[in-house]
C-alpha cells in the first residue's frame, strides 16, 4: 500500500471537482510566510507527513497572520512527527464551518466490495466514536449513482438543500477512488460553510500498489513503504529492499526491524511468520526483526536476507522455521545460511541457531547445516517445537555463562 501526501491528494480532489481550501506546499519558513501572505486571512499550518492523527500531537497549527504562520512553520519544520521527519508543510486557508462531517470510501470484506462510511459529527476524535459512523456498501458493478449518493447522505442524517451538493461531492469522490485505484480515501473533516458549501479540509489517500502500476502520473505522487514500515525504513531495511529487487520475480523477502530483542528471525512465508512470531513471543523470546520469505527466492536473495538478519546488533540466537513445503529447496537455504555465517564470522556455538525446513533436497541441507554446527530439523519437529528448541538453547547458554562468570568471581575473591 502506498500513501499520497495531502497536497498531492488535494491536487487530485481539485481535478475531480471536490472543493478544497486554497493551499500551498512549503519547504521553509520564508515560503510559509509568503503563502500565508497570499491567502491573507487566518490559516492552518500542517506537517506534510504520511501519518494520521496529526491534530492530536500538535502537528496542525492555526495562525491569524503571516507572522504567526511563519512561527508555526519554524516550530514544525524538521521536527519528527511520529518518527517521520517533517520536510514540508501545507499552508491553507482556514474555513469557518457550521458543521463537520466524516467521509471515507474503502473496501469491506463483509460486503466484498467498496463501502462508504459517513458521519455527521466528524473532526478530531471520530476514531473514539466509531458507533456514530454509518456504513453503506456500494455494488461495484453499478458504481455510485447520483441518486444513491443522495440517498446515502439522507440515511446518514443530512436533509434539504444540502443533499444535492453533498451527493455530488460523494459521487466525485467515488469516481476518484476508482480512477486512482484507491484502497482508502478519507475526508475528516468535511466542512460545511455558513453558505452551505462543502469544503474538504483534509485529504487522506491510500492507493493500491498493483493498480497504481498502470497509472504513471499517480506513481510519481506515491510515498512508498509508508504502510509497510509505519515509519521511514532503516538503513538495513533499505538494503534489504535493494536486495529483494535484484531478482524481482524470484521469491519475496521482506524484512522489518523491531528496534529491540536478541533473536534474528528468518521465518516464512506470511502465515508461517505469524505463527513463529506468536510462538517466540509466547515463550518470552524477543525477536530483533520480522521476516516474510516465500516463493522460492534465489540463492543471492537468500544470502542477502541471511546476512541482513545475522548482522543485527545484539544477536544472541537465530531462527529459520518454515512450513513443510514442496518447493522450498532446503539445500539452497542451507548453503546460503552457512555462507552468511562464514562471511560474518559467526560461531554457532556462541550464537545458537535452529533451522526447521522440510522440502526438496533436505538430506543434503541437513548435512550442510549440521557440519556447520547449526541445529537442523525436518518434520521430526513441529514449527512450534523448533521455536521452543531455540529458546531452550539460548537459556542453557545464558545459564552456563552465568555459572562461568560466577566462578570467575569466586576465583577473583
Amino acid at each position: 500500500m502506498a500513501r499520497i501526501l495531502e497536497h498531492r491528494a488535494k491536487d487530485l480532489f481539485k481535478q475531480f471537482g471536490i472543493p478544497v481550501p486554497e493551499y500551498y506546499a512549503c519547504a521553509s519558513e520564508a515560503e510559509v510566510r509568503e503563502a500565508a501572505g497570499k491567502i491573507n486571512k487566518k490559516v492552518v499550518v500542517k506537517a506534510l507527513v504520511p501519518v494520521g492523527g496529526r491534530g492530536k500531537i500538535g502537528a496542525v497549527k492555526f495562525a491569524e497572520n503571516a507572522n504567526e504562520a511563519a512561527a508555526a512553520g519554524k516550530e514544525l519544520l524538521n521536527r519528527d512527527i511520529k518518527r517521520w521527519p517533517c520536510r514540508q508543510l501545507l499552508v491553507e486557508e482556514f474555513i469557518p464551518a457550521t458543521d463537520e462531517y466524516y467521509v471515507s470510501i474503502t473496501f469491506d470484506s463483509r460486503s466484498r466490495g467498496p463501502v462508504i462510511i459517513l458521519g455527521c459529527q466528524g473532526g478530531i476524535g471520530v476514531e473514539e466514536n466509531l458507533s456514530s459512523l454509518k456504513k453503506f456498501p456500494v455494488d461495484i458493478r453499478q458504481g455510485l449513482r447520483g441518486f444513491a449518493a443522495r440517498e446515502i447522505w439522507e440515511q446518514a442524517g443530512l436533509s434539504g438543500k444540502l443533499l444535492r451538493p453533498a451527493g455530488e461531492l460523494l459521487e466525485n469522490l467515488y469516481r476518484l477512488f476508482c480512477e486512482c485505484s484507491g484502497k482508502l480515501i478519507e475526508i475528516n473533516p468535511l466542512l460545511r460553510r455558513a453558505d452551505d458549501k462543502f469544503v474538504a479540509a483534509d485529504a487522506v489517500l491510500i492507493v493500491d500498489d498493483e493498480g497504481v502500476k498502470k497509472r504513471p502520473a499517480l506513481m510519481e505522487m506515491v510515498e512508498y513503504g509508508v504502510e509497510n514500515f509505519g515509519r521511514p525504513p532503516t538503513e538495513r531495511e533499505q538494503e534489504m529492499i535493494r536486495i529483494d529487487q535484484l531478482d524481482p520475480y524470484r521469491g519475496t523477502a521482506r524484512f522489518v526491524e523491531l528496534g529491540e530483542g536478541d533473536i534474528g528471525f528468518m521465518c516464512g512465508g506470511g502465515g508461517g511468520s505469524l505463527v513463529m512470531m506468536d510462538t517466540v513471543t509466547r515463550y518470552q523470546g524477543r525477536p530483533l526483526n520480522y521476516t516474510e520469505m516465500g516463493g522460492n527466492p534465489t540463492e543471492r536473495k537468500m544470502l542477502g536476507l541471511a546476512k541482513t538478519v545475522l548482522s543485527q546488533p545484539g544477536l544472541k540466537g537465530f531462527l529459520r522455521v518454515g512450513n513443510i513445503s514442496s518447493n522450498t529447496q532446503v539445500d539452497i537455504v542451507a548453503k546460503a545460511l552457512v555462507k552468511a555465517v562464514e562471511e560474518l564470522g559467526i560461531d554457532p556455538k556462541q550464537v545458537p541457531m535452529v533451522v526447521r525446513a522440510a522440502g526438496l533436497h533436505e538430506d543434503e541441507g541437513r548435512k550442510i547445516l549440521e557440519e556447520a554446527g547449526i541445529a537442523y530439523f525436518s518434520d521430526e519437529f513441529t514449527m512450534v517445537q523448533a521455536g521452543k528448541k531455540l529458546l531452550e538453547m539460548m537459556r542453557q547458554k545464558a545459564a552456563k555463562e552465568a555459572v562461568e562468570s560466577g566462578k570467575e568471581e569466586v576465583i577473583l575473591k
Binding site: 466484498r112 467498496p114 461495484i140 493498480g211 506470511g270 505469524l274 514442496s326 518447493n327
Partner: protein, 296 residues
C-alpha cells in the same frame, strides 16, 4: 466424499503454456486430476503435457465439458480470466495469481458471485481432496507427505499453512477430506463461512480446522454461522498474530488484510470464535489435541 474437487472434476488451466501452468498441469495429471484443456490466446492447436490448448475458454468448451478453471495468468490479465471462466459457464474458479489490482479483483468476484460461481482465491495455492484429485500445485510431487485422506476439512488463508495444517491433521492421526488454500488477499471469493457450508453438507467431513489471520470479517461470519446453527460440525481454529499486541511497531505483518480493518485484533477474533463455540487453539500445536478431542 469431499468438496469442490474429486476424480470426476474436469479442469481447464488458463495460462497452461506458462512455466507455472505447465508444472501445475504435470503435477495434477500425475495425481489423477482430469486436466481436459488449457487456454492461451493465439496458441490454439498446441499440446501441453498431452493437454490441448485453445484460444479461449468458450472454444475449449465446445470440445470439452469443464467443471473447474484454474487461473495461472499474470496479475494484469487475471481478473479478465476469472470473468471469462464465469461467462463460459464454469462453476468453480481457482485463482493462483497474486497481486491482482484490488478494484479489478473486486469486480471479477462480484460478477462471479452474481452468476453463482464459486471462486477460490485470488492468491490461493490450490485445493486438494487427498487420494482423489487436486487443482493447483498444492502438495508438490509428494502429496502424501502432508495430505492423506480422512474426515477433516482444512481451510487456510495462508498457502504454506494449508500444507502444514494438513500435516498436523495427519500427525493427530487423521487425514483430510479436502484441504483448501482460500487465498491470502483482503477480498477473496469463497470465505470461511461459504466453504464451511460446503463441508457441512459433505458426509465424509466430520470436523473442520481453520488457519486464520487477523484483518477481515471472515472469522466473524464463520462465528455467526456456528451461532445460528447452520454450521454444526466441530470447528477448530488457530488465529495467528497474537504477538501484534505485544510489539509497538506500526509495520504491516502477514497477508493483505491487516490494514483496512484495524478494529479486530487476534485476541478479539479468538474471543469471538470461542464465544460461538469454536475450539480455539492457544498455540498452533494445540490443534493436534483439539482435533483428537473433537473426533474422539
Amino acid at each position: 466424499m469431499s468438496i469442490l474437487v474429486d476424480h470426476n472434476t474436469r479442469v481447464l488451466i488458463s495460462g497452461i503454456t506458462g512455466r507455472e501452468g505447465q508444472i501445475a498441469a504435470r503435477l495434477m495429471l500425475n495425481y489423477g486430476t482430469k486436466v481436459v484443456a488449457g487456454t492461451n490466446p493465439g496458441r490454439e492447436g498446441e499440446i501441453v503435457e498431452g493437454v490441448p490448448v485453445y484460444n479461449s475458454m468458450k472454444a475449449a468448451g465446445k470440445d470439452h465439458a469443464v467443471d473447474a478453471a484454474l487461473i495461472y495468468v499474470p496479475p494484469a490479465g487475471a481478473a479478465d480470466s476469472i470473468i471469462e471462466a464465469v461467462d463460459a459457464g464454469i462453476g468453480l474458479v481457482i485463482v493462483i495469481t497474486e497481486r491482482i489490482p484490488i478494484h479489478e479483483a473486486c469486480l471479477a468476484l462480484s460478477i462471479a458471485r452474481k452468476k453463482g460461481a464459486v471462486v477460490i482465491g485470488p492468491n490461493s495455492l490450490g485445493v486438494i481432496s487427498p487420494g482423489k484429485a487436486k487443482i493447483g500445485t498444492i502438495g508438490g510431487a509428494k502429496e502424501e507427505r502432508c495430505y492423506t485422506p480422512g474426515p477433516v476439512g482444512v481451510i487456510s488463508r495462508s498457502g504454506g499453512m494449508t500444507t502444514e495444517t494438513s500435516w498436523m491433521v495427519k500427525k493427530a492421526g487423521f487425514g483430510c477430506s479436502t484441504s483448501i488454500s482460500a487465498g491470502g488477499d483482503y477480498l477473496i471469493g469463497a470465505s470461511f463461512a461459504d466453504l464451511a457450508a460446503l463441508f457441512e453438507s459433505d458426509a465424509e467431513t466430520k470436523a473442520l480446522v481453520l488457519f486464520c489471520e487477523p484483518g477481515t470479517s471472515y472469522e466473524e461470519e464463520l462465528a455467526e454461522a456456528v451461532e445460528n446453527g447452520s454450521l454444526k460440525k466441530p470447528v477448530i481454529a488457530y488465529v495467528a498474530g497474537a504477538f501484534l499486541s505485544q510489539i509497538s511497531s506500526q509495520a504491516k505483518f502477514g497477508h493483505a488484510g491487516a490494514i483496512l480493518e484495524k478494529g479486530r485484533s487476534t485476541a478479539e477474533i479468538r474471543r469471538r470464535l470461542a464465544k460461538a463455540g469454536v475450539r480455539v487453539a492457544e498455540e498452533y500445536d494445540d490443534i493436534i489435541p483439539l482435533i483428537q478431542e473433537a473426533l474422539a
